[in-house]
């Protein structure tokens, strides 16, 4: 299980830049590392969520050529927050998972934009939200819910067989 988690965080961060474009729909690519961080944080708590978010984000920063530390920080915040709140939320239903991931992606986008603005990022807020963050948030919502269901199904199958 630990190996799987390590591969998910490490591989997800790097594979995003190489394999992510293959999952594009109408030029919108999902943020797979963010989905992985949220799913792991819900299951393993704030410490793990924070560490996984930092590692996945840092690898994403390195692979994409962006500023090192931006996604590492925003994903660590998301992982920590969701890990801390996860126990109090009922997130087993897709009707909660989809809007939850949409909101988290928007929150990550806002945090990233605010952080990048400190370092003179030139893109306008409105366009980024309309053409990048919101479409990606929707995609993340549905893809994340599907992954969550697949994970739950795999776990229930394993429990039955063991």
């Amino acid at each position: 299980m630990r190996t799987f988690v390590a591969v998910a965080v490490f591989g997800g961060g790097i594979a995003h830049a190489t394999l992510g474009p293959a999952l594009r729909i109408a030029d919108v690519a999902p943020d797979i590392p963010l989905i992985v961080v949220v799913l792991l944080a819900l299951r393993r708590g704030p410490e793990f969520g924070c560490g996984a978010g930092f590692a996945a984000g840092l690898l994403q920063d390195a692979a994409s050529g962006g500023l090192l530390g931006v996604q590492a920080l925003t994903k660590a915040i998301i992982g920590f927050g969701i890990g801390a709140l996860g126990g109090r939320l009922r997130v087993s239903q897709p009707l909660v998972q989809v809007p939850g991931l949409v909101l988290l992606t928007i929150a990550e986008g806002l945090a990233r934009f605010s952080l990048l603005k400190l370092f003179r990022f030139p893109a306008p807020f409105g366009e980024l939200m309309t053409y990048v963050v919101l479409p990606q948030a929707l995609y993340n919502g549905f893809l994340g819910a599907a992954l969550g269901l697949a994970l739950a199904w795999a776990e229930s199958t394993r429990t039955r067989t063991s």
Binding site: D27, A29, C50, L59, G66, L68, G69, L73
Partner: protein, 279 residues
């Protein structure tokens, strides 16, 4: 909540902020190099796996079209189709490489060919990773082109790879000139993945849809005359001082696999090497 979790979170936030501050002061090489040693080989391997998977998937889709045929003919057709696909893929790749080679040989500047091993296409950053790096003497701000036109510039050089900022990246700007009218302007990337031509003097600009826009050569970063795109929509803002236009990029960045890095220096006009640049 455990104190340990809060301490961990605080440490992570502090590390990120220190990293960001160091980068803004220009001290980035160490950290990004260490990470590149890990990420570059994995990206290369993943790119190969990705291409193989896409190839297999395309072949499968082709096969679906011959299902109605009888068993013997289907087997024969499948065998021939696989062979034909392999040949056509090879021929296509051959043609691509020939075009690249022709451009490389005709270019009056020293160039280096490279293969794309990763793409970042999220909208925040639009970049390509090329398998040429510090070991190949690639420098920061090296211009990157394809037979169809300009791709962008190198913004980060690592031991075995370089990150290329694509023209459609929101932080990308290039000095250009409209070939037909010789009107100067600046092309910027937009978050939606399009190009925008800005700051064209309104008087005498007279640009039209379909006009070719090429690099102006100003600033010495890009040679003069490399196609950037064609005017798609003109944005007339009434009495405003400047004209604006949307451009269709000359290069399809999502489909490009091989590129040329211009490693030689010097102000050259290379318009003659690109069909249509001398309109």
């Amino acid at each position: 909540m455990k104190i340990r979790a809060i301490v961990l979170f605080g440490t992570v936030a502090a590390v990120c902020l220190v990293l960001l501050t160091l980068q803004m002061r220009g001290n980035t090489a160490g950290a990004s190099d260490v990470l590149a040693v890990v990420t570059t080989p994995i990206q290369s391997a993943l790119a190969r796996v990705n291409r193989t998977t896409v190839g297999v998937w395309s072949t499968y889709r082709e096969w679906k079209n011959v299902r109605a045929e009888n068993h013997r003919l289907r087997e024969e057709a499948q065998r021939l189709r696989v062979e034909a696909l392999t040949v056509s893929e090879t021929v296509e790749e051959n043609q691509r490489l020939r075009r690249l080679l022709a451009l490389k040989e005709a270019m009056p500047l020293a160039t280096l060919s490279g293969e794309i091993i990763a793409r970042e296409w999220g909208g925040w950053v639009r970049s390509l990773t090329v398998n040429r790096g510090r070991a190949d003497h690639v420098a920061r701000l090296t211009a990157v082109i394809a037979p169809a036109g300009l791709i962008g510039r190198v913004v980060d050089v690592r031991p075995g790879a370089s990150i290329v900022q694509v023209l459609t990246d929101p932080a990308s700007t290039v000095g250009v000139v409209v070939v037909r009218t010789r009107t100067q302007g600046i092309v910027e990337g937009e978050p939606r993945g399009t190009l925008r031509l800005k700051y064209m003097a309104r008087d005498g600009s007279g640009i039209q849809v379909g006009d070719l826009v090429v690099t102006s050569g100003g600033g010495g970063l890009f040679p003069r005359g490399i196609p950037v795109g064609r005017v798609r929509v003109i944005d007339d803002r009434g009495s405003a001082l400047f004209h604006y236009a949307q451009l269709t990029p000359a290069v399809d960045f999502a489909r490009i696999d091989e590129v040329l890095l211009i490693v030689g220096e010097g102000a050259h006009d290379v318009a003659a090497l690109f069909p249509g640049s001398g309109d």
